[in-house]
């Protein structure tokens, strides 16, 4: 069978036969790094094109349709343009922080790739506190934004960065609480355990209404955390030109842009893992025949299908809703999402203890 885990095992076996274990491990790490960078590049190209097409169709436009067949090479052409542009550093900027910020954004995105299970038994690092790791590392993202805003020496950038800080600090809470409700049901922070627990049905179906509420809260909170519309106050074009990346150009801007899309992919992958079963095929209880048919679809297709569905939902939000004001944004979090997710966590805990889920 051609599966990712099979290929990975083959490579591992061959490397260990040919080289000594240390060298084999080093080579494996390099391969993993290259694979992650390759995935980033592909994701950037695909998601930018997808966003432009989705936005165009939702706004009754055509979208890119000139470069390549049906405009499919548009994002590639844009990337080439950004590559040859000058990466300008403004005179009054803090040079070190200014140049460091985009790389921090990328490094955070790369670190977050580690615990994600892309297919059956295909995971970079199945650490036993995977979900905690994700929520901890993802909050470093705000540092890169603050760094970019501060070092630009530009009032728009600083304002955008400060807004982004307030926003991410607030929404981290309800995202964390909705993630916790799944952790409570599963009893484990390990990603592979969470996926295994959904072998007889995804949590969104098994967990009744509380998990659905947690899912909705999670989607809203991660939309805010990735700074996307309707929560894009950090870059709000009409008020702050481009917010924290106003002063960035060329490849440094492209890194921020790429980091945004990779972050969207990551949060959607986490959402798919927690609520929609990760790579787990669609199973219904004891229907052996049906479950068997579903198992024929490769696990990687299940994972990417669910993730891209969630990405589409987040894009759907972006092109439907107007931007919130800062007070509305904080009202939504502190007055609505946080109390709701707290009560919801309590209900989910009661449900887990009493065994009311399937």
């Amino acid at each position: 069978m051609w599966s990712f885990s099979h290929i990975a095992d083959e490579i591992n076996e061959w490397l260990n036969k040919t080289f000594n274990p240390t060298l084999a491990l080093t080579i494996e790490m390099v391969i993993a790094g290259v694979a992650v960078i390759g995935l980033f590049a592909t994701l950037g190209l695909v998601l930018v094109l997808m966003e432009r097409k989705v936005s165009a169709w939702m706004q009754i436009r055509l979208g890119p349709n000139r470069v390549g067949p049906k405009g499919m090479l548009q994002s590639l052409a844009d990337t080439l343009k950004l590559l040859v542009k000058e990466g300008l550093t403004p005179n009054g900027a803090d040079k070190l922080l200014f140049n460091l910020a985009p790389f921090i954004a990328m490094i955070v995105a790369m670190l977050l790739m580690a615990p994600i299970a892309f297919a059956k038994d295909f995971q970079l690092w199945d650490l036993n506190i995977g979900i905690l790791y994700v929520s901890a590392v993802s909050s470093i993202m705000v540092i890169s934004i603050l760094m970019a805003g501060w070092s630009s020496n530009n009032k728009y950038s600083l304002m955008g960065a400060m807004r982004s800080g307030a926003q991410i600090v607030s929404y981290e809470l309800s995202a964390g609480l909705s993630v916790l409700s799944i952790v409570v049901l599963t009893g484990s922070l390990q990603v592979s355990d969470i996926i295994q627990s959904q072998a007889d049905g995804w949590w969104i179906f098994k967990g009744h209404i509380p998990v659905v509420v947690a899912f909705i809260t999670f989607i809203i909170a991660v939309t805010a955390e990735t700074n996307r519309a309707p929560f894009d106050l950090a870059e709000a074009e009409s008020e702050l030109t481009a917010g924290f990346h106003t002063e960035y150009s060329g490849m440094k801007f492209a890194l921020f842009f790429l980091a945004e899309y990779v972050n969207v992919f990551i949060v959607c992958a986490i959402g798919a893992t927690l609520f929609l079963g990760g790579w787990m095929p669609f199973h219904i209880g004891n229907w052996q025949g049906f479950n068997h048919v579903m198992d024929f679809i490769p696990s990687s297709i299940w994972f990417f299908g669910k993730t891209f569905f969630l990405i589409f939902v987040i894009m759907w939000f972006r092109w439907t809703f107007p931007r919130l004001r800062i007070d509305q944004l904080l009202n939504l979090e502190w007055k609505y999402l946080l109390p709701i997710s707290m009560v919801n966590l309590l209900v989910t805990t009661a449900m887990a203890i009493l065994g009311w889920h399937f």
Partner: protein, 158 residues
């Protein structure tokens, strides 16, 4: 009570958001609604909306007659001096003097297509045309005289 208002707020928000999302999903799945015109490519088949405003014209009938009485209502209505009505006095067969237009000068380069002159006209003498390819090399060509040479007012238009 506070809690019922709270729940009502949440419910109303969810419902109105769902309404918006249903609308965009409708557009996303119905590509026939797309209004983009691929302009230079479909120049021959281009269909503009009925209310599109390209430039002011004065329609003439087959006898080279227009409906303009020279009342200068359009000139007065114009916010930026685009229209200049130059009047003359015709001598009717009965020997009476009658006001008529000599030239209706229209400065396309000043016009903002605000439609106020068309609304001001009491006799529907001018209207908006659908032409929009106005680029020329000499800006004098943008100063147009709307009435044809030798044209006169239609019978019965006062």
């Amino acid at each position: 009570m506070f809690i019922t208002k709270y729940i009502k707020d949440v419910w109303g928000a969810v419902r109105s958001l769902a309404t918006g999302m249903r609308r965009t999903m409708y557009y996303f799945t119905h590509h026939k609604e797309i209004i983009t015109q691929q302009y230079p490519d479909n120049r021959d088949t281009l269909v503009l909306p009925e209310r599109f405003k390209g430039e002011v014209v004065m329609p003439h009938d087959e006898n080279n007659e227009h409906r303009c009485t020279g009342c200068t209502a359009c000139e007065l209505a114009c916010p930026n001096g685009t229209i200049k009505v130059i009047t003359k006095f015709d001598i009717s067969p009965e020997g009476k003097k009658k006001k008529a237009i000599d030239k209706l000068v229209y400065h396309l380069e000043l016009c903002t297509m605000c439609n106020l002159c068309i609304e001001a006209c009491p006799s529907d003498a001018i209207k908006m045309a659908q032409t929009f390819e106005h680029s020329v090399f000499d800006r004098n060509e943008l100063t147009k005289i709307l009435n044809n040479p030798g044209s006169k007012i239609m019978e019965g238009v006062e």
